[in-house]
């Protein structure tokens, strides 16, 4: 029986599934309120959904997921090479910095509170940065784990 050859996109697809699964669990309260809102013909829950989004629930879930990938990388004892290694460690710091600065500027009243909503450019940038980081780093981490296993067998 011939063993199947691995392909790069399979690892990216695995990382996307990991991301979607974690997003569903992380954003469960928000999704639950969306279902309630939809089931009640938009009578119940609209205010709660707005509250959660304006409190930055989506951005904080992104931060948690990026943090979880970073901790996975750190604890796995797997090290990447070159500039990629630098980006793997600095990218989460950049995301945390952007969210913190955003939060600070909102609290100081320098920028509007709508910066936390999903209509804002900053939120989309943070969301996009988190998704890119999770997909590309998580997939490479899975590959490295398979490489470790393959070289041991």
């Amino acid at each position: 029986m011939e063993k199947r050859q691995h392909r790069t996109w399979e690892y990216y697809w695995r990382a996307i599934k990991w991301l979607l699964g974690n997003l569903v669990f992380g954003l469960f309260p928000l999704l639950f309120m969306c279902v309630v809102y939809w089931c009640s013909d938009k009578k119940i829950g609209g205010h709660d959904i707005d509250d959660q989004i304006y409190e930055g629930a989506i951005l904080f879930v992104c931060l948690a997921l990026v943090g979880s990938v970073l901790v996975d990388v750190y604890l796995s004892n797997i090290r990447f090479n070159g500039a990629f290694r630098l980006v793997v460690y600095l990218w989460p710091v950049a995301i945390v910095g952007i969210v913190s600065l955003n939060y600070l500027l909102i609290k100081l009243g320098i920028i509007g509170k709508d910066r936390f909503s999903m209509h804002s450019y900053t939120s989309w940038i943070v969301f996009g940065m988190s998704v890119l980081y999770i997909i590309f780093v998580k997939s490479n981490l899975s590959m490295k784990e398979d490489v470790n296993y393959a070289t041991r067998v």
């Binding site: 500039a83 450019y121 900053t122 490479n140 393959a150």
Partner: protein, 69 residues
């Protein structure tokens, strides 16, 4: 202030994304090669195994026959 903030995070995001995607794809290519080489080696070893077993069995039967004689 808002525009300065948005422009700076866009620059950071674009520069980081470039290094992240480029590094990841480069690393992925190397890793996949190593994994697939190992898969090929493993398959070859698996395929060679039954022949070794058969030869061993044949040798054992020859030894048995020899000792009987």
């Amino acid at each position: 202030m808002q525009h300065v903030f948005e422009i700076s995070i866009t620059i950071v995001a674009l520069a980081g994304a470039w290094f992240l995607i480029r590094g990841s794809l480069k690393d992925a290519k190397k890793n996949i090669e190593v994994i697939n080489e190992s898969v090929t080696r493993h398959t070859e070893r698996r395929e060679a195994k039954p022949e070794v077993k058969r030869n061993k069995r044949h040798l054992n039967s020859l030894h048995a026959h020899q000792s009987h004689l």
